[in-house]
Structure formats: C-alpha cells, structure tokens
C-alpha cells in the first residue's frame, strides 16, 4: 500500500532517508491540511466540531470512484490531467451539496440549542454516513482507479517521488491558495470572517448568517472531497470507514494550528503528516511498533491541550457571559 516509504537501500544513506521521510510526510500532511481546513472553518462560524467531516472525506473518495465508473469511456478519450480535473471538480461539487444538505437537515434545527446537543447530532450524522455507506458500497475494501499515471520523477538523487505525490501536493497547494483568496478577497469570505468574529454584529450589519454558514459547509466539504480523492490516489484502496482516522488526525491538526485559524490548520496538517511519517519510518530505531503511527496525533493532541490549548497560531479566547 505504501511501497515507496521503504526504499531498499535507504539505510545506507541516512540523510537521504531522512529527506525521503520528510517528503513523504509532506505529501500526507498536505492532505491532512485540506481536511483540517474544513474543521477549522466550520468551527470558526458555528463554534462546534463537525464530527461528520471525516466521513465527507470518505464520501469524496467514493464519489470519485463512481464518477470514474460512470464516465469511464469518456475519461479514456481525454488526456489524464483533464480527466482528473473533471473527476475532482465534480466530486467537490457533489460533496459540497452533501455538506450543505447535512447542515440544513441536522445542524440548522439546533442552531440555538446547547453545544452538547449539536455535538451529539454530529456524531449521529457521522455514524449514519459510515453505516449507510457500508450498506450501499459494501464493507470490503475497493480498489481506487488510477486517475494519475504511475511513475517516478527522476533527477532527484537518491530520492523517490512519484507523479501521484507531486500532483497531490500541487493540487492541495492550489486549493489552499484558492481558499485563501475566497476568504480574504471575496464578499462571502469577508462575511465568513465577520460571522466568526461576532455572529450578532455581523447579522446586524446585514450579513445573512444562514447563507454564510451554508457556504462554509459547502466550501469545507468540497476541500474534504478533494482530500478524499487525493488520499485515495496515494493509498488506492477505499472503504466506508476510511475517513475516521484521517478525520481525527485532521481535527488534531486544526487544534494544533489553533482551531478557527485557517493558516494554522494548514500548518498543523503538515506537522502531523511529517511527524507521523517520521515516527513510522524510524520505528525500528525508536524501538516501537510502526502500528503506533496512528497514536502520534493523539499524543500531540494531549500535549497541545496541556501546554497551549489555543494552538500554535491561535489567540487565547476568554469566554464571556
């Protein structure tokens, strides 16, 4: 599944092995960053953790799979970058609609209710998506189609970098720049920032909070869907519960960067991805089973909650009455 992570002669070149792990971590981290952005944006406008976000990520991967099946003959005629872009954009639109629908049906009726109720609903939505997916798509692992051609990029010394990895990183960076543009330069983006600063004041200033919240959910879900397709291209085997662990790790990334802080989420995602890959790559030297890589994020979460709960880039927030 993750063949390129252990290259055969790596231990002869410790520095190049380190660089290799660093790169692998960067690719994985860019996907975590995409998912983390959705958590942090929703937290920014609604002040709650959207547990179902990781499952929208799973939904994105499955949408990609079914789009590829559905459009198969057409895809074959197009050059692969176009085909990939078509699948990516369509899946993002479909999942954005799903995210908006989830918010409308499950979270909107609870807008003024205690936060605990919304949290429980979010867990319910998450389980509902997972088990419905299990019923519809089946519980077994399914191979994800090759939408990015296989092959290595040469001329990097001892380092192995696949085309898939490069495309993943480039797509993630482009999406993050696009998000930055939407949030900082457009009217809806300004409304989002206003809403996250003070919902009452933004409503008084003529912002339609409901529309902005729907938009935020759509934006976050679209990024999660893109993350799902990129993740499935890196690890091409998908199943209904694939979103649980990446979702949790991305949440940790959002907390690490400072929840509600958009650049923080991207930074947190990269840190989590790199740390996790390094721990797995050096598990022999560290003397721990490589299965513990999934625990890394939680250790980071506990540490950040103990020492800097506001996150690396977040500002400490006092609760007011």
């Amino acid at each position: 599944m993750q063949g390129q992570r252990y290259e055969p002669f790596a231990h002869h070149f410790p520095l190049s092995q380190f660089l290799q792990q660093l790169l692998n971590g960067l690719f994985l981290g860019s996907i975590y960053a995409l998912i983390a952005l959705g958590y942090t944006m929703v937290y920014g406008v609604l002040r709650f953790i959207n547990f179902a976000h990781g499952d929208v990520f799973m939904l994105g991967a499955f949408t990609g799979l079914y789009l590829h099946k559905l459009l198969g003959p057409m895809m074959a005629m197009m050059p692969w970058p176009v085909a990939m872009l078509v699948i990516l954009l369509l899946a993002m639109i479909i999942c954005a609609a799903a995210g908006i629908l989830i918010e409308f049906l499950a979270y909107r009726p609870l807008r003024d209710k205690p936060r605990l109720n919304v949290l429980i609903t979010a867990i319910g939505v998450s389980l509902l998506l997972e088990y419905t997916a299990q019923l519809v798509f089946g519980a077994t692992q399914q191979p994800f189609p090759v939408i990015i051609p296989k092959g290595n990029i040469g001329g990097l010394g001892g380092l192995t970098v696949t085309i898939t990895q490069v495309i993943v990183l480039v797509t993630a960076v482009v999406l993050m720049i696009a998000l930055r543009f939407i949030v900082m330069k457009t009217k809806l983006g300004m409304a989002m920032r206003a809403l996250s600063l003070n919902p009452t004041a933004s409503a008084l200033m003529g912002v339609n909070n409901s529309v902005v919240i729907s938009f935020t959910f759509g934006l976050g879900s679209a990024l999660a869907a893109a993350g799902g397709i990129l993740y499935a291209s890196l690890y091409p085997s998908i199943e209904p519960f694939m979103g649980v662990l990446p979702g949790l790790k991305a949440f940790v990334a959002a907390v690490l960067g400072g929840i509600g802080n958009i650049p923080g989420a991207a930074l947190g995602g990269l840190i989590i991805g790199v740390t996790e890959t390094l721990v797995a790559g050096y598990s022999d030297t560290l003397g721990i089973p490589s299965g513990y890589r999934d625990g890394v994020a939680f250790v980071i979460l506990i540490l950040i909650l103990l020492f800097k709960p506001s996150g690396l880039l977040g500002k400490a927030e006092r609760e007011k009455v």
Binding site: L119, G124, Y131
Partner: protein, 321 residues
C-alpha cells in the same frame, strides 16, 4: 428519611441478587446470559450518565475504560490467581471470591487512573475536547493492545483466553446496585450539586467559587472506575477478551443508552440499558441496520426530544411538592 430508603433499597438489591444467584443454576443459560449482559450494560450506562448526564461533559470512550478494567482484572486472575488462592488456603468459594474482588478492584482502579490521565488535560477545556480525546483514547488503547506481543501478558491482537468464569448473577447485580447507589448518593449530596452546577452553567458555577475542573475530573474518574468494574465482570463472564471487543462502537452503544434514557435521569438510563440490551439480542439478524437506526435515533432525539424519553424531572416532581 430519604437516606434510610436508599440504604434499604441497596441492601434489598444485594440480598435479592445473592438469592437469585444461588438458584441461578435453575435458570436457562441463554436467558441468564442476557440478564448478566443487561446488568453489565446498566453499570456502564449509569457510570457514563454521571459524566455525560449529571456533569454535562461528553465522553465517547467508555469502552476504553472497560477495556482497561477487563485486561487489568484478567491479568490479576490469570497471573496471580493461583498464588493468591494458595495464600488464602487453597481453592474454594471464599478464596475465589476474594481473588475476584481484588481483581475487579485492580481493574477499576487502573481504569480510574487512566480516566485521570485522560481527563486532566482535556477537562480543563470545553466539552468538545473531551469527546475527541476520549475517542482518540479509545483508538489508542485498541491499537496498543493489538500491537502487544502475542505471548506477552496482553496477548496481542488475539487477546486473552482462559479467564476463569467467576462472574455470577450476584457479582453483576451487586456491582450494579452499588454503582446506582453510589452515583445516586453522590449526585444528591451537597458535593454532587457541584456536578449539576458544572452542567447547568459552567461560568456561573465558576464565579460562585466552584472549582469546575475538579468536579469534572472527579466525575470522570468515578465513571471510569465503574466502567473498569464492568469490564472486569465482562471479562470473567466471557472468559476470552480481545481488543476488538472494546472498539468505538461499544462506546457508542453506551452513549445511545444514556441519550435515549435521558441524560441525567438514572431511572431512564437504566430502562434504556435494559431495553436496548434485550433488543440487541433479539435483533441480531438485522445487525447491519442496527447502527443506522442508532445513528438516526441520536439525530432525531437531539432535534425532537433532547431530554430523553424518561427525563430526570419526571420522577422528581413529587419530591419537590
């Protein structure tokens, strides 16, 4: 007056469970097994209710504390059982009971210690963090147990086998009675008002001089202790345990009991635990729909009737008059 009634009820419950236990050989094995399952789930639900209901926090990792209790107590009976028996004057009902009691307490205390370690960093912050940290803890416990050495004391992914079947009707229902009594007495005491204050308005409670973190951690540690006891009982009932038995879904089962019964309503939670356990048993053929129904229940309950089917006020109105 109230105190005498509850003391009397506790003694009665203990006596009845001892009585039934003595003639449990007369009962059909299948129904006895369901009854014991009901008892264990009642302990789990009532203890989670202290955290999620009375104190208004949200733990999603009750199964993890159950796992700690199950493994802790099984290690006592498996590794030290024989030598303890020898010290206590050879195998016999008394020596067995003492060994089992010690094992259960070791399991409960180790779960409580884990509860303290997990609760301390996360309970300083708002409720949502506890949900994520406990969810993560649930995963970590499973991953760590699965990655242990198969020949070691934890038995790796296959778990532990050949645990003595000490759990009887008396042990389960005596523990359940003690759990209900202890938690009920605690919540109704002056001290217990602190839990309710944390739930009702944390900021107001804090400004009245209540150390909210301390109350939250205390509730969480006590809840974990009883979950550990339930785990010990479960291990010595099933005689085999594996890490998979204590996954996230087990935690969700308990959460659904608490929410369906009504958060903070002991009677409601007990009724829900009994009904759901029995229903689960008879709906085994519909396993794949079970979680879909559960998740829909969570969402619908939060939107339509967040106080649960049998809310706390239902039984307290008469007392106030």
């Amino acid at each position: 007056m109230k105190h005498h009634t509850s003391h009397f009820a506790l003694l009665l419950a203990l006596a009845v469970s001892l009585g039934v236990s003595l003639c449990s050989s007369q009962l059909d094995d299948y129904y006895l097994d369901i009854m014991l399952n009901v008892g264990i789930n009642v302990i789990l639900a009532v203890s989670l209710n202290l955290v999620n209901g009375h104190t208004g926090q949200f733990s999603l990792g009750h199964a993890a504390f159950m796992a700690v209790g199950a493994y802790g107590s099984s290690m006592v009976t498996l590794e030290m059982g024989a030598s303890m028996m020898r010290v206590l004057g050879g195998a016999g009902p008394v020596a067995e009971s003492v060994t089992f009691l010690v094992a259960l307490l070791v399991g409960g205390v180790s779960a409580a210690v884990c509860g303290w370690i997990v609760g301390m960093p996360s309970l300083r912050l708002r409720g949502d963090y506890l949900a994520i940290v406990t969810l993560g803890f649930n995963e970590i416990i499973r991953v760590v147990l699965q990655n242990t050495n198969g020949d070691g004391p934890f038995g790796g992914a296959l778990g532990l086998k050949g645990i003595p079947a000490y759990t009887s009707f008396f042990w389960v229902f005596a523990t359940a009675a003690i759990a209900i009594y202890t938690i009920g007495a605690l919540v109704n005491s002056t001290y217990g008002r602190g839990f309710l204050a944390v739930r009702d308005d944390e900021i107001a409670g804090e400004s009245m001089g209540i150390n909210t973190t301390r109350y939250k951690v205390l509730a969480f540690v006590i809840g974990s202790f009883f979950a550990g006891l339930a785990g010990g009982l479960y291990a010595h009932l099933r005689t085999t345990i594996s890490p998979e038995g204590f996954n996230f879904l087990k935690s969700v089962d308990v959460v659904v009991m608490v929410i369906l019964g009504g958060m903070g309503s002991t009677v409601g939670v007990i009724v829900a635990a009994v009904v759901l356990t029995v229903l689960n048993e008879f709906l085994r053929d519909f396993e794949q729909y079970r979680m879909i129904v559960f998740s829909l229940l969570l969402i619908v309950m939060m939107i339509v009737r967040p106080q649960g089917l049998l809310p706390a006020g239902l039984f307290q109105r008469r007392k106030r008059a």
